[in-house]
């Protein structure tokens, strides 16, 4: 079988040969562009050497014929094998219908503006949907408070284990390293002034107030927030959520509340754990780099770090927990379609929850400093 070919023997004589099928067309389009006819000519295209023809080949052939006829010439196709004519006719009819259809539709005037507008509308829509979701969840929560029996304790406990207990190693290691880094970076500066003992202030305040709640929230957003989005998203795709609704179960009650409650309990506890490991890391660094012993360090720590600083740090954790659980579940519920959408929504849930956690942290810092805490 030969590849498709076009030759222009004479001005009015075009010879088509080879197999005009999708896989064997080769560079036929570039061959075709060379062919041209004088205006108002009557030409003949000899198709008797075409060995095979499929839809793609017929489509290209018909396009070529139409283009050649554009300048008022006429061209007749001769010698096409009888078994190909039906396909050729079907393709010709289809092409006519399609070009008529495309002429009717025109593109929107400002594609870029349209794009920006679409994005803005999407963002607003998502914001409104998030508000709606928070409202629904609050209502479900109120319902559960009124009838405490409706709350599912088993999934709550399960979630405390999977989001809290199972995260202890990673939270511990990262907090410890963070404490080490803070003390190490501070030690060079403090040593210059001989203010070695202030390392306790540095590590204590920064870990307890800021770093411990933040690092814990970020780890949990990546670890559990994404899991929530993926789980609920997959359930949405496989119509399990719809099934739940038709069975008279409230998805918020079954899926969201246990996660929310579990995380609000687990995240402050994890933060305490992170506090301890972070300060321990700093303390180790202080004793090796700055010759500040453990007893000295702890003595200084209890004097300078007030209980309110400690509570401010832990107090942020439930707020971060609410953000992570809400965004994770919300993005899960917004999943539509297939596997691709699950991936997208999971990514979105992690990005948005980390973003919102840091924004909330900044706002809280301003609020606490205004309150002199």
């Amino acid at each position: 079988m030969q590849a498709a070919a076009i030759a222009q023997a004479h001005e009015h004589d075009i010879v088509l040969s080879g197999s005009w099928t999708a896989l064997r067309l080769g560079d036929i389009t570039s061959q075709a562009t060379v062919i041209s006819l004088p205006s108002k000519a009557a030409a003949v295209a000899d198709a008797s050497a075409i060995e095979a023809l499929d839809t793609t080949g017929a489509w290209l052939l018909q396009k070529l014929l139409l283009r050649l006829q554009h300048n008022g010439s006429t061209i007749s196709l001769r010698g096409l094998r009888p078994e190909f004519t039906r396909l050729m006719d079907a393709v010709t009819a289809q092409m006519g219908a399609q070009s008529a259809a495309t002429h009717g539709a025109d593109a929107r005037p400002f594609p870029r503006l349209t794009h920006i507008g679409q994005h803005a509308l999407n963002a607003i829509g998502q914001g409104i949907a998030l508000l709606g979701f928070i409202g629904e969840t609050t209502l479900a929560m109120a319902g559960c408070l009124r009838h405490p029996r409706r709350l599912r304790w088993r999934p709550v406990l399960y979630n405390i284990r999977s989001a809290g207990f199972d995260a202890l190693p990673i939270v511990g290691v990262l907090s410890f390293l963070l404490g080490v880094v803070v003390a190490y970076q501070g030690s060079a500066q403090l040593r210059q002034y001989g203010a070695n003992i202030f390392v306790a202030d540095l590590v204590g305040l920064s870990m307890l107030r800021e770093f411990a709640p933040l690092i814990t929230a970020i780890i949990i957003a990546g670890r559990s927030g994404s899991a929530y989005a993926a789980q609920i998203g997959t359930m949405a795709v496989t119509e399990e959520i719809d099934a739940m609704r038709t069975l008279g179960l409230v998805p918020q009650e079954v899926l969201v509340l246990p996660k929310l409650i579990a995380l609000v309990i687990a995240l402050p506890l994890l933060t305490v754990f992170s506090d301890i490991l972070g300060v321990w890391g700093g303390m180790l660094m202080a004793s090796t780099q700055l010759e500040v012993g453990f007893a000295e360090f702890i003595d200084r720590l209890t004097k300078t770090v007030s209980i309110s600083s400690y509570l401010v740090g832990i107090g942020k954790a439930p707020i971060f927990a609410l953000i992570i659980a809400c965004i994770g579940c919300f993005q899960g519920f917004r999943t539509k379609g297939g596997a691709d959408s699950v991936g997208q929504q999971t990514t979105r849930s992690v990005v948005q929850s980390i973003f919102l956690v840091i924004v909330a942290d900044a706002l809280l810092s301003i609020a606490f400093s205004a309150l002199d805490l």
Partner: protein, 289 residues
């Protein structure tokens, strides 16, 4: 040339194909021949191994024993290159469509052309639009994602993708399952139209008795690991084998058969069938090239 055509007349041949899953014997020495340009249907109860047999034909699974050759190529000793060449010569419609969720319908249909041919992108889009029209979908479906389509549209879109490279051989896994009767009728007609237009050989798995009566030229009944009977529905309806009888004796079987005789007496279907009986001869030539 004539002699070659004769050998070419058998598109798929299976000899002594046996498949086991552990202890369970799915196929026990199955022999089958599928001829060019016929609509061949595989039927059988759930778990009778029809899907497995189909998967073996399209190289998704290997039998434990026996040989399968498709379009003259033996699947057991096939090289990677030959396998790729063979895969381009058939199209498969999966039961749940198998369309890629991250691509639009138009991109899904253009994918085989983009991967395997050297055509320009705008041309591929045009061809995809043509295929969309060919399977009876509206042009605006092309820009939609598979998740936005109804079951019937999904089947049609998936069929369009299977037809993207104008295959010689088309495998349909439950083409009408989960469709409303109207869409199912549409699929019947579509399969016949495409067969006549493109000279396709169609191999399908179905439970749809109407589809079997209206479209299939030959039907093989699979039960207990063996082919219990093979022939047109009319021929099968005269056999006594209980495994075959179940397709004719139930209320559904009877009504489907009745419908067939009604449409025959109207003469509509008779014409259709005769046309399709002659079609294979004529279309042989396309397939031969």
């Amino acid at each position: 040339m004539n002699g070659m055509r004769r050998a070419d007349d058998i598109v798929i041949s299976m000899k002594g194909v046996s498949t086991r899953f552990g202890e369970q014997v799915v196929h026990d020495q199955i022999n089958l021949e599928i001829r060019r340009a016929e609509v061949f249907a595989l039927i059988g109860g759930s778990g009778s191994g029809k899907s497995t047999l189909l998967r073996e034909m399209i190289m998704l699974q290997q039998p434990n024993a026996g040989s399968i050759s498709v379009l003259g190529v033996d699947l057991a000793r096939i090289s990677d290159e030959a396998a790729l060449a063979l895969r381009r010569r058939w199209g498969v419609l999966f039961q749940h469509g198998g369309l890629f969720g991250s691509l639009t319908v138009s991109e899904n249909i253009g994918l085989p052309l983009r991967e395997h041919s050297r055509l320009a992108s705008p041309l591929i889009d045009e061809l995809a639009a043509a295929k969309i029209a060919m399977v009876g979908l509206k042009p605006n479906v092309g820009a939609q994602f598979p998740s936005e389509l109804s079951g019937g549209m999904l089947k049609r879109a998936s069929l369009a993708r299977a037809l993207a490279l104008d295959p010689e051989l088309l495998f349909l896994d439950e083409p009408t399952a989960g469709l409303d009767p109207l869409s199912a009728d549409g699929v019947d007609e579509l399969v016949l139209q495409l067969r006549d237009l493109l000279g396709l050989t169609v191999v399908m798995i179905t439970h749809d008795l109407d589809l079997l009566w209206q479209v299939a030229d030959r039907v093989a009944v699979l039960a207990a690991g063996k082919v219990q009977g093979i022939g047109s529905m009319r021929e099968l309806s005269e056999m006594d084998n209980p495994a075959i009888r179940q397709f004719f004796d139930g209320p559904r079987g009877r009504s489907a058969a009745q419908q067939q005789s009604i449409s025959k007496s109207r003469g509509e279907h008779l014409k259709n069938k005769e046309g399709s009986q002659q079609e294979p001869r004529r279309i042989n030539q396309i397939g031969d090239i």
